[in-house]
């Protein structure tokens, strides 16, 4: 389990937006993963990023490398037809040539990336392994990589071997030029890989060791080293990159402002006071869940259109007041109001608790779709809300924080909702007990529970409902049933637990409307 990773939330939110816009592809999910290299899975429409702390340098330098890596992955999504694994020589060489191709195609439009790319190249060059530390045929592949991308190799190698590398790089550059000029795709480049392998005298399937950035106290890079490396990198790439300011490359002026904003956002989001973890509420680990599965765009748009007037804050009502409209009297200055404007806006603060017990397991996708649509609309209407869910994990009742009150609803929240499995019973009393300190301190206007069954211990639940009510919070429950009679029974039973308002719902899609009506009527 992790502590609040709000910093990652903001980063993922921005990264998802950037990947989708840079690549022009919708429904891409972006996540941090404990892998060694950032990678894109075309079929799954997923981009996996390495955690920021794996990059070299201070926070700002790490951020710059992270940002460039997102750009590369977005370009891969846009321009690559397939992405092979880097584990074997064949895929490694194809990916190396593709990296240059997508970069050349990308900077035709995203010209502002040039300085960041140079910064990234310099870091890549500094973090590459010395050839003397690589053994066997993999050394040739690494030499090809370095000579092709940076125009030089680190360390030494036999002249006969080096000649092979030079020839292979010449061919690769020729292939690259032709691919860019004639708009050939990945498949065409792939058809040329055997020739390159032949020059290098390599088997297509030899394993390539992973090259991870070297880090450690003894490896500090001085600004001088960096400038030297940057000169080295740019020398070989003069034709590819248009004019750039080396001072900007070093200082990162293009991205310093956005980094500052992210830092400010991060501070803003830092939890003040109560720590949820200390009182038994946990945040789900970030995992590789595809939250787009629980997005029902039609439902969300419908609801947004329906409740639009709440957002504008104005709805016009026509009242028939007074006598029949007398135009003559009106003209003589007898004015009686006949149209009134009422401003309708919701200032309610709501806490929502979602039941994820095993009884909803068979319809949990629809349940999640409905609850996600609810959250989207609440966010759209700028209503202050927080969302919790409970289930049983490893025989323990868990209360999960999906969306804290002070964080904007975003992809990470949707991901958390998507990843909680429906499991276990309905121990309402226990969950209320865990949430009590938070409810007591944040004092929401409404505490809404969505549940589909009887609580495990009705007596304890009733007493918890009573004590929460005594703090001035309005307790509302929505019973989710399989059909109307079932929903009515659940709602009636919930009423006996002491809830101030109970509603029944049998069509899951009606959940958001019901909740919004509760808010509207408050």
């Amino acid at each position: 389990m992790q502590s609040l990773q709000l910093r990652n939330d903001v980063l993922i939110d921005i990264a998802t937006f950037l990947v989708r816009r840079w690549s022009g592809t919708e429904n891409i999910t972006v996540e941090f993963s404990k892998i060694k290299h950032s990678e894109t899975r075309l079929k799954e429409k997923r981009v996996l990023l390495i955690p920021n702390d794996q990059y070299y340098g201070n926070d700002f330098q790490k951020y710059r490398q992270y940002r460039t890596s997102i750009w590369y992955e977005a370009m891969r999504l846009k321009h690559c037809k397939k992405i092979l694994s880097n584990d074997h020589a064949y895929g490694f060489i194809l990916n190396t040539i593709e990296t240059r191709r997508i970069e050349l195609l990308g900077i035709k439009i995203w010209k502002g990336m040039v300085e960041e790319l140079i910064f990234n190249y310099t870091n890549m060059w500094l973090s590459r392994n010395n050839l003397s530390s690589i053994f066997g045929k993999a050394r040739l592949v690494e030499a090809f990589y370095q000579y092709f991308l940076f125009g030089d190799i680190k360390g030494e190698m036999q002249p006969s071997q080096f000649n092979k590398v030079v020839k292979a790089v010449e061919l690769a550059k020729h292939v690259l030029d032709e691919a860019v000029k004639k708009d050939h795709n990945t498949m065409w480049i792939e058809s040329k890989i055997p020739e390159i392998l032949k020059i290098l005298d390599l088997d297509a399937l030899i394993s390539i060791p992973l090259s991870v950035p070297l880090k450690g106290p003894g490896l500090a890079i001085t600004p001088n080293d960096f400038t030297k490396a940057m000169k080295q990198v740019t020398k070989s790439r003069k034709d590819d990159f248009s004019k750039f300011d080396s001072k900007n490359v070093l200082e990162g002026k293009t991205v310093i402002d956005e980094f500052k904003i992210i830092k400010t956002e991060n501070k803003k989001n830092e939890k003040k006071g109560l720590n949820t973890k200390s009182i038994g509420i946990q945040i789900p680990d970030p995992s590789n869940v595809d939250e787009t599965k629980i997005y029902d765009q039609d439902l969300i748009n419908n609801l947004k259109a329906k409740f639009k007037e709440w957002k504008t804050g104005w709805k016009e009502y026509h009242f028939f007041v007074g006598d029949e409209f007398d135009d003559e009297a009106y003209l003589e200055g007898y004015e009686r109001q006949f149209i009134s404007d009422l401003k309708k806006s919701i200032k309610t603060h709501i806490v929502i608790l979602l039941d994820h017990s095993s009884s909803i397991a068979d319809q949990q996708i629809d349940y999640k779709k409905a609850t996600l649509a609810l959250c989207e609309v609440l966010a759209f209407l700028k209503i202050k809300f927080s969302v919790y869910a409970f289930n049983t994990t490893k025989r323990q009742v868990m209360c999960w924080l999906i969306k804290p009150e002070d964080l904007k609803w975003n992809n990470s929240c949707a991901k958390r909702l998507a990843q909680i499995p429906a499991n276990g019973g309905t121990p309402l009393a226990e969950v209320y007990d865990k949430m009590y300190p938070i409810l007591h301190s944040s004092k929401p206007d409404i505490f809404l529970t969505l549940t589909d069954g009887e609580p495990s211990d009705p007596f304890a639940a009733r007493s918890m409902v009573k004590s929460i009510k005594s703090t001035g919070i309005k307790m509302v429950a929505i019973g989710v049933g399989r059909d109307t009679p079932n929903a009515t029974i659940i709602a009636t039973n919930l009423k006996y637990l002491g809830f101030e308002r109970t509603l029944g719902v049998s069509r899951l899609k009606d959940i958001p409307k019901k909740v919004l009506n509760v808010l509207g009527g408050n």
């Binding site: 950037l18 816009r21 919708e26 995203w110 502002g112 960041e116 956005e258 904003i261 904007k408």
Partner: protein
């Protein structure tokens, strides 16, 4: 609503409207057959410009009204007045245009309230007449040359409502006007700005389209119009740098939805134009 053609190139009376999807042809056919036209499209795609340009070409008079929640029946039909102790009647735009037989332009008709639409419906049906209950039941018959063009924004726009089917059916010719392809948008801008920096303007259009796509899937709250790409080109022409122009025209508007929203768009701008 002002649109692209409004900004004419200084000193010339040349038309600045580019009929890129042959709307004029369709409107001509509709005009010949007296079939009312409905133009559908998001804001800033040149709907009003199209109508104005068409009316200019036809050398007709244009009576136009822009609908909003505040538009009342009386704006359309007219009101009684009291002059020198006598009760008279001030004709509204609908009655006037029916009498004069000119082209009536109903802008953003789906922003109108139901009661307003009801009166419109009466005038738009086959009889082409309206009974003025406001003026002793007088019947106004439209001249033969009377023609109506209306525009609507997609339902996702704030303040718009679904048009009732009976009103929709009064406009059997429907023209869809979306954002034009990049090369066409460039040609449109060319009609408004003399000295174009081609590469920067093309990038600006690309940026606008990127933001439009994001807005279409509701990742952003606002989508820039053609008006904005023209403004971008004008700023470039007057010597403002590409990145600065992009921030002024496209970027800053998003700061009203918070830092993160602004930052997302700014990231895109910086990666395109640098600083």
């Amino acid at each position: 609503m002002s649109d692209q053609s409004e900004q004419s190139t200084e000193g010339s009376r040349q038309t600045t409207y580019l009929d890129w999807n042959n709307s004029f042809d369709v409107m001509d056919k509709a005009f010949e057959n007296r079939l009312f036209v409905l133009i559908i499209g998001p804001k800033g795609t040149g709907k009003t410009s199209l109508v104005r340009e068409y009316v200019k070409q036809k050398s007709k008079e244009l009576a136009s009204i822009n609908f909003s929640l505040r538009t009342r029946e009386s704006h359309l039909v007219g009101t009684k007045n009291l002059i020198g102790g006598n009760i008279g009647f001030d004709e509204g735009i609908l009655v006037k245009s029916m009498k004069e037989g000119n082209i009536l332009y109903l802008d953003e008709i789906n922003a109108a309230e139901a009661d307003v639409l009801l009166r419109l419906d009466e005038a738009l049906d086959d009889r082409r007449q309206i009974v003025l209950k406001e003026s002793n039941g007088q019947i106004i018959k439209a001249k033969d040359s009377w023609f109506v063009i209306a525009t609507i924004n997609p339902l996702t726009h704030v303040g718009t409502k679904e048009l009732p089917p009976q009103i929709l059916s009064r406009f059997p010719v429907r023209i869809r006007l979306d954002y034009p392809p990049e090369d066409i948008e460039y040609q449109i801008i060319k009609k408004h700005v003399k000295n174009l920096n081609e590469s920067d303007v093309l990038l600006g259009i690309k940026l606008a389209n990127t933001l439009r796509q994001a807005s279409a899937v509701e990742e952003l709250y606002y989508s820039p119009s053609i008006r904005e790409t023209i403004a971008f080109a004008k700023l470039l022409e007057s010597g403002v740098s590409a990145s600065e122009s992009a921030k002024i025209v496209f970027g800053n508007v998003y700061s009203q939805w918070g830092n993160v929203e602004f930052q997302k768009v700014n990231d895109i701008i910086v990666s395109m134009f640098g600083i």
